[in-house]
């Protein structure tokens, strides 16, 4: 039933798909981080309407499944004259979704900074830009590392949904191999194992990163 030289035969195909998964996850994570920071800044500086706008955005993405934005962009963009490749559409959806969660993570970290620090910064004459750059931002980023790690893992798993729009990442590859060879178990168990490796690797990376930058 289980063909044990499966990986030797199809190893290369898997690694190709693995590459796609990893690169998409990396790019989408970077994009989501930038977008999350932008949303966070908008909340800080946009006054009452800025904060409300970001809140509405976050609530919308928090309470809807990520397949909806994926379909929206994939099916919708060609209709408005932007026939982008599937992987870009999927990646954009992941950025928009995870950016919402990341902005909430940053907000939590910001609130964890003791208010006295802002008073202290004022008392030594630091202006708003300097306070942000030297006091707020470093602390927000470092406090956020564990939760950001969590979020990146979730994003990594969500790349599997891009198989629904025919992006050849790991899950799509498993489906193709199953159809070609009929060996469902092997195909999917290998893919599951590869995801576990990616997820564990990411978790280790963030744990090490946190330990390195902490000022304990």
């Amino acid at each position: 039933m289980l063909q044990l030289n499966w990986f030797r035969t199809y190893g290369a195909t898997y690694l190709d798909a693995l590459g796609w998964t990893a690169v998409t996850a990396l790019a989408a994570s970077a994009g989501a981080l930038v977008w999350g920071c932008a949303l966070f800044l908008l909340r800080l500086t946009g006054g009452r309407w800025g904060a409300r706008g970001v809140d509405a955005y976050v609530q919308a993405f928090r309470n809807t499944p990520v397949l909806l934005p994926i379909y929206l962009i994939y099916f919708g963009f060609p209709l408005i004259g932007l026939p982008w490749p599937a992987v870009v559409c999927g990646g954009l959806a992941l950025v928009l979704q995870n950016g919402a969660y990341i902005s909430e993570i940053l907000r939590g970290s910001y609130q964890a900074i003791d208010r006295v620090q802002f008073d202290a910064a004022k008392s030594i004459g630091l202006g708003p830009w300097h306070t942000f750059r030297k006091i707020t931002l470093p602390q927000v980023l470092v406090y956020s590392i564990p939760s950001l790690g969590n979020q990146v893992v979730l994003l990594l798993k969500d790349t599997s949904l891009l198989s629904a729009i025919s992006v050849t990442e790991l899950t799509m590859q498993a489906k193709l191999l199953t159809e070609q060879t009929g060996a469902a178990y092997e195909a999917f168990i290998v893919v599951a194992a590869l995801y576990l490796v990616l997820v564990s690797g990411t978790e280790v990376f963030f744990r090490v990163a946190h330990r390195t930058v902490r000022w304990r």
Partner: protein
Amino acid sequence: MNTPTLTLLLQAAGVSLLLALAAIAAGTVAAALLTALAFSRLRPLRFFYRLYVYVVRGTPLLVLALLIFYALPALDLRAGPYLAGVLVLTVYVAALFAEVFRGGVLAIPRPQWESAKSLGVPPGPLLRKIVGPLVLRYALPPYVNVCVMTVKATSVLSIISVWELTLASREIIERTLAVFTVLSVAGVLYFIMCLGIDRIGRRLERRLALRGFAGERV
């Protein structure tokens, strides 16, 4: 949007909700058993718990779904897509609920264990009258969170041909190309379901809190 389409979407939303509720019910029961394993005195059982949670949380739901979807016929088990879908969701959600319950148990402050022990309370009533209510109080917010995640997770089942809101939307879009309207309506429906669960959860929290759990003043 015409009425037949809207009705179709509403029906599909109902299916999503039912799938979610079934998985939540089954998952909670399964999770209670799993949590018992997590605190068992036997090392293999504890290891099984950790392995289960590690695998289920480290693999995408879709991959788990496809694994079970393809595995069932191979084991000669004929099950309709709905049953398979609920099974997949239950396996997934049980891991999440188990971690919530485990967290709830760990959140009980040590002095409370020690008081119970010094009063000599036997294990049965201990669980029912002391541990149970405290875990409920500490675990309720994350529990509600997982419930909301379950509703969103039903959308993944669309990829293994379970007919629910996301699949219904996709079918309509592929037929009519009314991408924005259909997905907006679907989004609103999910939003209402998720927010609804969240609100119910918060009201429950408030009611429990009034009874003076976990040290609040009554």
